[in-house]
């Protein structure tokens, strides 16, 4: 029973982090048809900036319980990296998708050394802050309140994003542009601006995710390439371009990872990708995806 509770708690937390990472990916794919391999590097940027800014703020005498606000703020600032990145990516919107994969792949290489230049080769983390809120007992297992906060934040962001896309005028413009770029342009939508904003919103979701999760796990240079593996698993299982798919896929992958960790740690990636293969063979477009 305690094992099941541990798996559930750890799995939901990991799923929350993965959702923040992949919701950005899904958004830019859904609207712009860009598959951003560098999403993991962007997430890492949020994590590193979160560590530095929060460490600095705490040294300046910030009351410790307020640290999540600083993390959130640095995640939001780091998200602005999307503005220049979108301008670079816009040079190849009309090329085959292999070119997009390649350009974002070269961004991974660039990011890895930029992060190393500013933060060095060793992992960085925020020690001793995630426990200031204490922990609660769930089914016989102690869960840090901070982890619960991250899960809640992911749910709030997910619900907010869905509401934004389905109920606001801007959201409707985004969906219309995703459906048909030319028609939207003819109706007076500034497609260039929409793309710029969507991509930046996507990177912001990833950097906020990285920043929020960093009190519980170190920021490292390997993150950039390692997270892509999880992110791909999530979008293949959930279905590419679907926000619901990102949420369901993230929870599934989070739970598989946590189960593997508690039962048989040797098979974490193996178990994830075995599920990915099964999903691809039975539901080629994922659980919530549309055929392309």
């Amino acid at each position: 029973m305690a094992t099941a509770a541990s798996i559930l708690i750890a799995g939901l937390f990991h799923g929350a982090a993965l959702f923040l990472l992949t919701s950005g990916l899904q958004l830019s794919f859904g609207v712009q048809r860009i598959v951003n391999l560098a999403c993991g590097s962007i997430y890492a940027l949020g994590a590193y900036l979160g560590v530095s800014v929060t460490t600095w703020a705490l040294a300046q005498g910030l009351p410790v319980p307020l640290f999540p606000l600083v993390l959130l703020a640095s995640g939001l600032v780091a998200g602005l990296i999307g503005l220049p990145l979108e301008r670079v990516l816009s040079t190849i919107y009309r090329r085959p998708e292999s070119f997009q994969l390649l350009l974002t792949f070269s961004l991974i290489l660039i990011f890895q050394d930029v992060l190393r230049f500013f933060w060095g080769a060793y992992p960085r983390q925020l020690p001793n802050v995630s426990m200031v809120y204490g922990s609660i007992n769930v089914g016989g297992v102690q869960m840090p309140m901070y982890n619960l906060f991250v899960i809640l934040a992911a749910v709030v962001i997910g619900v907010g994003l869905t509401w934004f896309l389905s109920h606001t005028t801007s959201g409707k413009v985004l969906r219309a542009t995703a459906e048909n770029r030319e028609t939207s342009a003819a109706m007076g939508v500034n497609v260039r601006l929409v793309y710029l904003l969507v991509f930046t919103l996507g990177t912001t979701l990833s950097t906020v995710g990285g920043a929020l999760v960093v009190p519980t796990a170190a920021a490292s240079l390997q993150m950039g390439v390692e997270l892509v593996v999880d992110a791909f698993a999530v979008i293949v299982i959930g279905g590419i371009g679907s926000m619901k798919g990102a949420a369901v896929g993230a929870v599934i992958v989070g739970l598989i990872r946590a189960a593997a960790l508690f039962i048989y740690p040797e098979v974490d990636i193996l178990a994830t990708y075995a599920v990915v293969l099964i999903v691809l063979i039975w539901w080629p477009t994922g659980l919530f995806g549309k055929a392309l």
């Binding site: 598959v35 391999l37 670079v88 040079t91 190849i92 009309r94 090329r95 085959p96 998708e97 292999s98 070119f99 994969l101 390649l102 350009l103 792949f105 070269s106 961004l107 991974i108 290489l109 660039i110 990011f111 890895q112 050394d113 930029v114 190393r116 230049f117 390439v225 892509v228 593996v229 791909f232 698993a233 979008i235 293949v236 590419i240 040797e266 098979v267 974490d268 990636i269 193996l270 990708y273 075995a274 990915v276 293969l277 691809l280 063979i281 080629p284 477009t285 392309l292």
Partner: protein
């Protein structure tokens, strides 16, 4: 992919210029082969030692490009087959106690066939981004298998691959550098030339034309009687064999079968080399492999931030040279002739 196809149409010019450039290409190929054969006698021994990884990637890329350039299927897990070649070389020695390179190649080809046929059966149903993700999944599954099953594969420390004998001749007296820049260099060069010749025959055969037709227009091709799925599956298997042979060559140069060989970033490098050189040409990826190896080596020697500069150079190439180095050279040549 459709845009790639139309770019390819543009590169096919009228018959007159084609036969003229055909002669130019033959002369250039001859010069390239002579230069490669002469390299151990004229260049720095260090650069010659880069020749083996270059030729290994070149062989793997010939296969990769059958799938990608001619078949329109972008595999993002192709490094899987590099690892299969490397590990089956190590296993060949461990199981038979014989370190003949021919035996290693035999094991590599057999393993590639055994693994790629079921994968091809699954993967040939997909195209576009789904095919990319599926192949990425295959690669990552194999990567974690290699890493985690320590007893069988040596885990993250990999498996040793000893210096092999070639054509029954034992070179154990020759030191590693001498072996890699002498007999093994020429063996690999011969292997590369034979592989390229076979590939040249494949892409010009009726089968190759079926493959290109199914890339350009899947629906039209199947109306004309092309068995698209079957044709794609065969391309997958052939490219797996090429990748595996390249992996065996690579394993000799490092002396190690390493799980990193199958990591997705390695697959990314393969894709990069293909696009860098120009995937619309048979020998484009070979040129890409050479440039990539030299560029990476120079940057690594020059700065600890070599990834940054490699990334910048590659990003500029992707943005500015859609045809790759060879495609761009061809364009410039055509403009100059006019």
């Amino acid at each position: 992919m459709k845009q790639a196809a139309s770019a390819l149409d543009m590169s096919v010019e009228s018959d007159g210029t084609r036969s003229r450039s055909g002669i130019t290409v033959k002369v250039m190929l001859f010069v390239a082969v002579v230069a490669l054969a002469a390299a151990p006698h004229v260049t720095n021994i260090y650069y010659v030692s880069l020749g083996i990884p270059f030729m290994a990637y070149a062989v793997a890329l010939l296969g990769f490009n059958l799938l990608f350039g001619y078949g329109g299927q972008l595999s993002f897990g192709h490094a899987l087959f590099l690892a299969i070649g490397a590990y089956s070389s190590a296993l060949a020695v461990r199981l038979t106690g014989n370190a003949a390179f021919e035996l290693m190649l035999l094991f590599a080809v057999a393993a590639a066939l055994a693994i790629s046929i079921p994968l091809a059966w699954i993967a040939s149903r997909f195209s576009g981004i789904f095919f990319g993700m599926l192949t990425l999944s295959f690669g990552m599954l194999f990567y974690s298998f290699l890493n985690k099953f320590y007893d069988l594969t040596g885990g993250d420390s990999g498996m040793n691959v000893p210096q092999p004998s070639l054509l029954g001749i034992d070179f154990s007296q020759v030191d590693k550098m001498g072996f890699l820049t002498g007999p093994f260099y020429y063996y690999c060069l011969a292997l590369l030339i034979v592989s390229a010749w076979i590939m040249w025959r494949i892409v010009r055969s009726p089968y190759g034309l079926h493959l290109q037709a199914s890339r350009d227009n899947e629906v039209k091709a199947s109306y004309l009687g092309v068995k698209v799925r079957q044709v794609r599956a065969v391309a997958f298997v052939i490219s797996a064999i090429y990748g595996s042979v390249g992996g065996a060559m690579l394993a000799i140069s490092t002396g190690l079968a390493d799980p990193e060989l199958s990591y997705w970033q390695q697959s990314g490098h393969l894709v990069f080399m293909a696009i860098l050189g120009g995937y619309q040409e048979l020998i484009g990826p070979i040129a890409g492999a050479l440039i990539f190896i030299l560029l990476q080596d120079e940057l690594q020697a020059a700065t600890q931030y070599w990834r940054f500069f490699l990334g910048v150079v590659l990003a500029l190439l992707v943005i500015g040279m859609p045809g790759g180095l060879l495609g761009t050279a061809k364009q410039i040549l055509a403009r100059w002739r006019r």
